[in-house]
């Protein structure tokens, strides 16, 4: 079964103004942009196609999760990995930025789970502040964030996941043990997981595959598990067919569109061996 197509009816191409650019440490940068339409309409897990440069280099917009909204502002969390992100992290307050969004299928808040377990790896933190708030406002009584990164300085700050909400706990893990659990964040999942839980994951493909494997092997698996995936994108709104992701079809892999069937997919929809066989994210 292929995932339902996202609603494009809310998407709008709006020109916003950069309000703040903060270096969080470890290369992570948080950008705040006045984008009233996106802020008013983006649901957790949805993304926007950003452009903050003239000319044709880079040519295409770049997709980013809406990290949080506050009034008329949206937050984005990113890191300079290539030309587009380098230009974005170099923005200064007052600079213009265009955002087309909200785009994609976000996380399912309905039915509201009794407990939410968020599993974040590295920059996979990006969609979760918005999800944490969304879950709490929807009535989810307990939200646990498992936040992992290679090193302590690359951990997204716990208070930024929380953003003042109550009922939220953040547990941390680092590959080198420089903060929290030493090891992969997915190793923390079993102790927080049972069938009352809904799991929400975002991070590098190998981490998400490990999460999916961990969930499969669990005596009391969560009643629902979703992950946010990435693919190189041409358009972001479903017309280029460039953002193919391997989904588990009845007769083997079928190609789904990250931008309209995702970026959030149910764990069971994903063809995990197919996903792991793709070239690493840095090849595009």
């Amino acid at each position: 079964m292929s995932a339902p197509l996202s609603d494009l009816g809310r998407a709008r191409d709006q020109s916003g103004e950069v309000l703040a650019v903060e270096a969080l440490g470890g290369g992570l940068v948080e950008i705040t942009v006045r984008l009233p339409h996106l802020a008013a309409t983006a649901r957790p897990g949805e993304f926007a196609q950003l452009r903050a440069w003239d000319g044709v280099e880079p040519l295409l917009r770049r997709p980013f999760s809406v990290a949080w909204t506050a009034g008329e502002a949206c937050g984005f969390v990113l890191e300079a990995v290539g030309l587009g992100t380098r230009l974005l992290v170099a923005l200064r307050p007052g600079d213009p930025l265009r955002a087309l969004g909200p785009l994609g299928n976000g996380f399912q808040l309905d039915p509201v789970p009794a407990r939410a377990l968020i599993v974040s790896g590295g920059l996979g933190c990006a969609p979760f502040p918005h999800l944490v708030r969304g879950l709490r406002r929807a009535g989810c009584p307990e939200v646990v964030v498992l936040s992992g990164a290679a090193t302590a300085d690359r951990l997204y700050p716990a208070d930024r996941f929380v953003r003042g909400e109550t009922g939220v706990r953040v547990m941390e893990a680092t590959d080198d043990g420089s903060r929290g659990h030493r090891g992969f964040v997915t190793e923390l999942v079993p102790e927080h997981c049972d069938e009352t839980v809904a799991v929400f994951g975002c991070g590098p493909n190998p981490m998400l595959a490990a999460l999916a494997a961990a969930l499969r092997g669990m005596p009391r698996p969560p009643h629902r598990a979703e992950v946010s995936l990435e693919a190189p994108m041409g358009c972001g709104f479903g017309t280029c067919l460039g953002c193919a992701l391997p989904l588990a079809g009845d007769h083997g892999t079928v190609w789904g569109l990250c931008c309209r069937q995702g970026p959030v997919m149910e764990v069971s929809q994903v063809d995990w061996p197919g996903l792991l066989a793709l070239p690493p994210a840095h090849v595009a």
């Binding site: 295409l60 017309t239 391997p246």
Partner: protein, 330 residues
């Protein structure tokens, strides 16, 4: 049927930019969306006022549904992008049975881009589509390299002519042929398809390109490692191709390749195109084609491109270029 669109509504006065491409296909204005960059219109309808445009050229449609190529399917290069989509499409039955009914409700003429591996594939598509309303014409994609028996219509004038003659005999709808630029002599292919009965040609499809990733020491795109290059980088090449085609045929020519704004579109009209398609630019800005149209309208008001408002008949004519064949280089 949308093939003969209503005249411009009274709330949009201004120059009459209609383009008569022949055999009943009259575009309300010369700005269309290029095949493969606008799907079947459903997504963009939600983002822009699609009905203001001159035409929508659909994604390449094949006899059977196709799931397309493995990822990565797109890769950005300096000033352009490579794609290796692999004709991912729902198949002609779905298009004819489900989509076409929607098209009848749209003001924008919908031209279905048809692709296939052999003549029968194309004929099968056209037969099914001919039975549906809402289709303003066909754009034969003869530049599809993955076809049975290794024959590549777009690269061989004789094969192209055979294909066009067969389809011409089958349909009375407008038949546009989309030319491949990856050929020794695009003018020869254009002449061949004109002689075989094509009503118009569009030029050009993408250029075969490759992106190498230094880290993995291999091409980024899967399979043979190549993809189709589109976007601003190909404009000088596409302009040359359009000028060469313009000089070779007398049927209308639709120019496509790297158009980002109205100035680019104007250059194609000067090179001899009767209308244009906007492709990759839509990815950068969903409203790009509308902005091209608005720019051309403004230009028409200023400089008298097109006919004066209200005067009917005749296609927009561009000044022919000073020259049209490859000059000596080097």
């Amino acid at each position: 049927m949308s093939a003969v669109p209503a005249p411009l509504p009274p709330e949009a006065p201004g120059p009459d930019l209609r383009v008569d491409l022949g055999r009943g296909l009259v575009l309300p204005n010369p700005v269309g969306l290029a095949s493969g960059t606008a799907g079947y219109g459903f997504e963009l309808r939600q983002l822009i006022d699609l009905d203001r445009l001159g035409a929508l050229f659909t994604k390449g449609t094949t006899l059977r549904p196709r799931d397309g190529n493995p990822p990565p399917r797109v890769a950005e290069v300096r000033g352009g992008m490579l794609n290796s989509i692999g004709l991912h499409n729902p198949g002609v039955e779905h298009v004819a049975a489900v989509y076409a009914a929607e098209f009848t409700r749209w003001r924008v003429p919908v031209v279905v881009n048809v692709a296939g591996g052999n003549v029968d594939d194309y004929l099968g598509c056209l037969d099914r589509l001919d039975a549906a309303e809402g289709i303003a014409g066909y754009e034969l994609n003869i530049s599809c390299p993955n076809i049975a028996n290794g024959l590549d219509y777009g690269r061989d004038p004789v094969a192209a002519a055979r294909l066009v003659a067969a389809t011409r005999a089958r349909t009375n709808r407008h038949l546009m042929v989309k030319l491949s630029p990856n050929v020794t002599d695009i003018a020869a292919v254009a002449r061949a398809v004109e002689d075989a009965g094509a009503d118009s040609v569009s030029a050009v499809n993408t250029y075969v390109g490759m992106k190498i990733h230094r880290g993995i020491r291999a091409p980024v795109l899967p399979g043979r490692g190549t993809g189709g290059l589109s976007g601003p980088v190909i404009k000088p090449l596409a302009l040359a191709a359009v000028a060469q085609v313009r000089a070779a045929v007398s049927i209308p020519v639709v120019g496509v390749g790297g158009i980002m704004d109205a100035g680019d579109a104007q250059e194609f009209l000067i090179a001899g195109a009767n209308a244009v398609q906007v492709g990759t630019a839509t990815f950068v800005n969903p409203a790009a084609a509308l902005e091209v149209l608005d720019g051309l309208l403004a230009l028409a008001l200023r400089s008298g491109i097109g006919r004066p408002p209200g005067r009917p008949g005749g296609a927009v004519r561009a000044v022919p270029p000073a020259g049209i064949e490859p000059a000596s280089t080097g």
